[in-house]
């Protein structure tokens, strides 16, 4: 098993020939901690489904999912150690997803001339 100290791997022979950033090797401990957190999160997801948080049910479920996803992105996908540009791409993707969902859902939760919320052709429960 390789060492778990947080050292960068420097390819001294290849040094500056490849001109890019030196690869950052994430310590094993970090990976296992993240994995543990993800498993705990999965358990929490199931547990939370059995609770009643009232209006916040969905918020809690999504909150846990977002936290898990964030851990995967930052550590497994190395975004925490990635260049700014990569982080920007991630941010933009999330922003546009939010725009897509938020912008359309907005139509379903806003009033029409007759005062009714949402499309008239859909019978609500």
């Amino acid at each position: 098993m390789t060492a778990t100290t947080e050292t960068d791997v420097h390819e001294h022979e290849h040094g500056h020939e490849h001109g890019g950033r030196h690869p950052h090797v994430v310590p094993l401990l970090t990976y296992f901690l993240v994995f543990g957190a993800l498993m705990v999160g999965t358990y929490l997801t199931v547990w939370a489904a059995g609770q009643d948080f009232g209006r916040f049910n969905t918020v809690v479920a999504l909150g846990i999912a977002v936290t898990k996803a964030t851990l995967v992105v930052l550590f497994f996908m190395h975004v925490k150690y990635s260049p700014r540009l990569t982080q920007l791409v991630v941010a933009v993707a999330v922003a546009f997803l939010a725009l897509l969902i938020g912008g359309v859902v907005n139509d379903y939760y806003s009033p029409r001339l007759d005062g009714q919320m949402g499309p008239a052709n859909i019978r609500r429960e």
């Binding site: 022979e13 001109g19 990976y31 489904a49 995967v72 992105v73 497994f76 990569t86 429960e125």
Partner: protein, 217 residues
């Protein structure tokens, strides 16, 4: 050694050096993932709209899904993300045997996931929960429930398709790693495939609560 770096067999002629090539590959892969986010996003939008329109129907329909199987699959996929990350790490450290080991582990775990999905789909078929002419659902919420199942099959099907594409790629990588293709200086394909695999995991992280755990459980 600098000579070797300049003429590294993996260096494409239009790049100045391996570093530029790696940065380009990474940016390219992330852009691909960004478009995948929007791709799945369209279905997540449809889900969001209908869940808000038919909350009771969605809860009822969700109860017919086996959350234990879903939970096991979630754990399996998260574990496969760990093994994938370890494979990338092994490549960065030049540990050939470990790259192969972890890639194969990822394939095995991914296959278990797909096997469970086959079981689940078969179960839906038996219980007449596949949308279409043979759909049967008790109670007054049958119609919106059919929308739920349409989304269930569309979203998990699309997700499974991504895994079906990923697994052969992982096998090819494992073979190439076994042949010594990947070194600390060059292991970009392993990293990029890792990014893809983690993305597929993230999609499932959202699908599990949204499909299997709607309403009180």
């Amino acid at each position: 050694m600098s000579e070797a770096a300049h003429h590294h067999p993996a260096l494409a002629h239009h790049f100045e050096n391996l570093g530029e090539q790696k940065e380009a590959s990474s940016l390219g892969m992330w852009l691909f993932i960004a478009q995948e986010v929007m791709f799945f996003g369209g279905m997540f939008l449809a889900y969001t709209v209908y869940r808000n329109l038919y909350p009771a129907a969605f809860a009822e329909a969700s109860h017919h899904l086996d959350w234990k199987l879903g939970g096991i699959n979630t754990a399996v996929l998260i574990l496969s993300s760990l093994t994938m990350a370890l494979a990338v790490r092994a490549a960065a450290l030049g540990n050939r045997k470990q790259i192969v080991l972890f890639l194969i582990a990822t394939v095995v775990l991914g296959s278990i996931f797909l096997g469970v999905k086959v079981v689940e789909y078969g179960d839906k078929f038996e219980h007449h929960l596949v949308p279409g002419a043979h759909f049967q659902f008790p109670g007054p919420n049958a119609r919106p429930a059919q929308i739920f199942y349409s989304l269930y099959f569309a979203m998990t099907g699309l997700h499974a398709l991504h895994m079906i594409i990923g697994i052969p790629i992982l096998l090819v990588l494992a073979w190439l790693a076994h042949r010594g293709r990947y070194t600390p200086a060059y292991h970009t394909p392993v990293e990029m495939t890792g990014l893809y695999w983690h993305f597929v995991d993230i999609v499932w992280i959202f699908l599990f609560p949204l499909l299997y755990l709607v309403g009180p459980h």
